[in-house]
Structures are given as structure tokens and as C-alpha cells.
């Protein structure tokens, strides 16, 4: 899978939502249902902040697709990585 190339054991990514920027379009939950669910008002709930390597490409697509740039993916690679 394409996602495997970036995420080895020493590289990991974490998702964050900027709740002020987010206006609840819901695109992220459609593109990344493995990690993101919508609350009753249409705002994203992260089931786990860590992005599994298997869905890394989907996560990137969701980040790029957010109309308000509210979904952020941060590299949290440890100092030993």
C-alpha cells in the first residue's frame, strides 16, 4: 500500500481539528471514515488522533479537501526517529 512508504515505526502522524476554523462541512468524515465520525451537529470527532499507516493517504486527502483548512496533520515523529 502507498501509505506504508512514509509511516515506518519511527514516523507517525497525528490529526487535529482547528475547532474555530471548522464549520462542519463533513468532507473529512466522508474521506476518512476510519478515523473521523460526525457529531449530531455535523462536526468531526476524531476516534483516535493517531493516523494508522494504512490510511495515511486517505488522511492526506481529507486534510487537502477541507474547505476551511481546519483539519491539520502534524508529524509527531519522536526525537529518536
Amino acid at each position: 500500500m502507498a501509505g506504508m512508504r512514509a509511516a515506518g515505526p519511527d514516523v507517525s502522524y497525528r490529526l487535529r481539528v482547528n475547532p474555530i476554523a471548522c464549520t462542519g462541512h463533513g468532507v473529512c468524515a466522508e474521506l476518512l471514515p476510519e478515523v473521523i465520525e460526525l457529531d449530531p451537529w455535523g462536526y468531526p470527532i476524531l476516534l483516535s488522533p493517531d493516523v494508522p499507516a494504512s490510511v495515511l493517504d486517505h488522511a492526506r486527502r481529507a486534510v487537502d479537501a477541507c474547505p476551511t483548512l481546519a483539519l491539520l496533520m502534524e508529524d509527531v515523529t519522536g526525537p529518536q526517529g
Binding site: V17, N18, P19, D39, W41, I45
Partner: protein, 447 residues
């Protein structure tokens, strides 16, 4: 004139009161009286031989504050010295912001300090500016409190006339909203925006006012700094537990005989704090600790707890900015909580979805439970809403509300079940106990 306990300057003993040493009810301690009481501001430019305890260097002053164990008195309880050090170490000229915008309706200790002993706070601002190398200093209060603004302007003018402060202190009024006193709101306002919280990082100590490293401290914290710089860390630690030493201002309210602000030794049990306030005026049901972002504790659990951040957290409470409110058995805790949550809901900045939609749903469910009864399902509705709100906002506002509601559902679980199944209790008709500002006293704008 008023009676002053200390007639001439001398290093005060370790006892209390410290911050309130010169304070009497209707009297503002002016600059000369303040200096008589505490001694001159220990800065090289002002009094070359003062400040023996820290040898007149910014880094020494920070060291003394670190050793003193002073923690922030605005709610979070973060070590004051560590915060100063990170601002001093950050790149760029620092800015100091004193937060005197006391939004919490159950607290009036910051107002007491600012209206009775303003020079302690102003000294603290100047010392903090010296310690972190700031060339800009702000004292921020709610702009709709015109009298407070005026008296602070006067105090600042007195100091300017004598050239006390090397860095002039600007008094700024921000909108009188609950979340406008959140530190990111203040910084956004000082940067020309609305007084609403912002998404972090960056945090103020990295990038605050105009992108510069910014030290934001509660005004009481700065008042303690004014005394620590004069008398040293050993003096400060002379009272209170080693983990959280010194004194603190506590606002005591509710069913007590003399509600008001009291200076206590850190670690004083809640029972003794209530005694200071004249004891209970009615039989006690529960205690709200830490104000509206705090928690309800059952009376017997709360009574012996020492007032420090860790001790209160250990029993599911919170120190917050130092509030103790006694709820009598004749009050309905659910009605009190519902009213407060409705107020806090209206005070949301409306920026984050879970706060904008979750809080009104929560407030509606609480009002239904308290005043109408819940047909056996409202408690479940409330419990299901909480995780949809928690940890999803840019600021602590939604989490503060859910903490209060969670503690109510735990402490008053039996009441909640009763309301849910049988309808409201007699207590709902009692006059409200927890203060919520009247609509006509409130400000609704953000700029």
C-alpha cells in the same frame, strides 16, 4: 483616614494578612501609604539598596520567584517562575499583560485588590517587566467597569508623576464577557481583534502581543510577586504547605454569615475558610469549589479538604481562582447548576461547533430536569451530551461547563433521579443563590 496595622515600613512577619495588610473596606491604599506599609519598589532605579534578596538582576528575580513556589492565582495554578523564565528565554522583546478582567461572577478578589491595593498589582507588573525584559506593559480589566478603570488610571498617573515605573503601564478595558478574560482573547484584543479565544499554538509565551513573547499573569499573582521581590522566597514560603506555599485570596459566598474576600494561608481546610466568613448561616448541603469552572462537592467530603490545587483535584474538585460557595439544604442544586450553565452558554463566543450547539442542548436539558422534571430520560440525555462537548473547543469554556455538570450529576445523583422521575423539588422556588449578572448589567459585544 483609616486605621493601618503597620505604622512604618518594616519587613513584615510571616503571618497574615499579606496582600490585604493595608486594606480596609472603603479605603484605597494610595502610593505613599503603600510604600510606608511595604517599603519602596525594589528596583535598582528606584531604591538602589532595596531588593537585597535578589541582588538586582532580572535572572536573579526569576530565580527567587521559582524558589518561592508561587503558583498562578488565576485558575490554572501554573508555577509563576517557570512561566517567567520561558518568556524571558523566548526570542524578541517581551510584553507583560496583567489580567484583572475578573469574569467569574462568583469571584471578586481581583476587583478587591485593584480597588483597594492597586499599587501592589502595579508594582508586580513593573517587577515582572523587569524580570522578563519587557518594554511594554498592560493592565487589562473589563471596560464596562468605569469606576475601576478611572481609579486605576489615577493610580497609574500618581506613579508616573513620581517616575516609579520604568515601563509605563497601559490600562486597557476589554469587553465584559466571560470568555474575554481568557488569555488568548486578551491577546487577540490587544492585537486589534475581537476579545474571543484563539486556536493554539502559538501560546502567548511564544507569540503573543504583536507576535512578541508575552507574559500573562493574573493580578493577584503579580501582587504576590511585589512582596516576594521585597521580602524574599523564604518569607513567602513561611506559611502554607511546601508544595504550594504562601497565601491566597478566596471569595466565600452562599450560605455564610459574612460573604466576602478573605486572605488565607494556602492549605487551609474549607471548614476553616467558612469559619473565617462567619460560619454557615444555614445547614450545608454541598460546596461549590473553584467557581463556575469548578465542581460541586458533597458537604462531608468538602469540609476537611485543604485549599490547594492538588488537594482539591484529588477529591474531584478544583481550586480555580479561589472560590468557595456554600449551598444550603434548602436550595436545589440542579436549579442552581441549570441557571449557571444557561448563563455560561450565552457567554460562549460561538466559534466552535461543539460549544455553539452542545452547550444550548445541555442547558435546555438541565433546565428541563431542574424546573419541569424529565420523564425518566433527561439525566441520560445530559450524560450523553457531555462527551460530545468535552475537549473539542479552542478554549476551556466548554470543558469548564461539562466539569461543573458532571460534578452535579455525581454529587446530586439522587436529586437528579428524583427530578427526572417525579418533577421539580421544593428548592427550585427558592431565591437563586449563585450569582449570575442581570441582563441589563451585561455586555454583549466583543470589540
Amino acid at each position: 483616614m483609616t486605621s493601618i496595622a503597620l505604622s512604618a515600613y518594616r519587613a513584615p512577619e510571616l503571618r497574615l494578612p499579606r496582600l490585604l495588610a493595608g486594606v480596609s473596606y472603603h479605603h484605597l491604599t494610595g502610593l505613599s501609604e503603600h510604600e510606608q506599609l511595604y517599603g519602596p519598589l525594589p528596583l535598582p532605579a528606584v531604591s538602589p539598596r532595596q531588593g537585597r534578596t535578589w541582588r538586582q538582576q532580572p535572572s536573579r528575580l526569576i530565580e527567587v520567584v521559582e524558589r518561592s513556589g508561587l503558583t498562578g492565582r488565576g485558575g490554572a495554578g501554573f508555577p509563576a517562575g517557570r512561566k517567567m523564565r520561558s518568556v524571558a528565554a523566548a526570542r524578541g522583546r517581551a510584553v507583560v499583560v496583567a489580567n484583572g478582567a475578573e469574569s467569574e461572577p462568583a469571584s471578586c478578589k481581583d476587583r478587591l485588590l485593584l480597588t483597594r491595593a492597586p499599587h501592589l498589582v502595579l508594582d508586580g507588573i513593573t517587577l515582572a517587566a523587569y524580570a522578563v525584559g519587557a518594554d511594554e506593559a498592560h493592565l487589562v480589566v473589563h471596560g464596562n467597569e468605569a469606576e475601576l478603570m478611572d481609579s486605576l488610571e489615577d493610580a497609574a498617573a500618581d506613579r508616573e508623576a513620581l517616575g516609579v515605573d520604568p515601563v509605563p503601564i497601559q490600562i486597557t478595558g476589554i469587553p465584559g464577557r466571560y470568555v474575554s478574560s481568557e488569555q488568548s482573547s486578551i491577546i487577540q484584543y490587544l492585537n486589534g481583534g475581537p476579545a474571543k479565544p484563539t486556536f493554539s499554538p502559538p501560546r502567548p509565551h511564544e507569540r503573543g502581543v504583536r507576535g512578541r513573547p508575552t507574559l500573562v499573569n493574573n493580578v493577584e499573582t503579580l501582587a504576590h510577586l511585589a512582596l516576594i521581590a521585597r521580602y524574599g522566597d523564604g518569607w513567602f514560603r513561611g506559611i502554607g504547605p511546601p508544595a504550594e506555599p504562601g497565601s491566597a485570596l478566596i471569595t466565600v459566598g452562599g450560605a455564610v454569615n459574612r460573604p466576602g474576600v478573605y486572605e488565607i494561608e494556602m492549605g487551609t481546610p474549607i471548614s476553616q475558610v467558612v469559619t473565617l466568613a462567619g460560619g454557615l448561616s444555614e445547614r450545608l448541603q454541598a460546596v461549590l469549589v473553584g467557581g463556575y469552572f469548578g465542581a460541586w462537592l458533597p458537604a462531608d467530603l468538602a469540609w476537611p479538604v485543604p485549599m490547594t490545587h492538588p488537594d482539591l483535584r484529588a477529591v474531584g474538585g478544583a481550586m480555580g481562582a479561589g472560590m468557595v460557595t456554600a449551598l444550603p439544604i434548602s436550595s436545589c442544586a440542579l436549579a442552581e447548576t441549570a441557571r449557571v450553565v444557561s448563563y455560561l452558554t450565552e457567554e460562549s463566543a460561538g466559534q466552535c461547533g461543539p460549544c455553539m450547539f452542545g452547550l444550548p442542548a445541555l442547558a435546555d436539558a438541565l433546565i428541563e430536569l431542574a424546573y419541569e422534571g424529565g420523564w425518566g430520560r433527561t439525566v441520560r440525555t445530559i450524560a450523553a451530551l457531555l462527551p460530545l462537548i468535552e475537549q473539542r473547543g479552542a478554549c476551556r469554556h466548554p470543558d469548564g461547563v461539562t466539569q461543573l455538570v458532571r460534578s452535579a450529576l455525581t454529587t446530586f445523583a439522587a436529586d437528579a433521579r428524583w427530578h427526572d422521575q417525579h418533577g421539580p423539588c421544593y428548592g427550585v422556588s427558592r431565591a437563586p443563590l449563585l450569582p449570575v449578572p442581570a441582563d441589563e448589567e451585561r455586555e454583549w459585544g466583543w470589540t
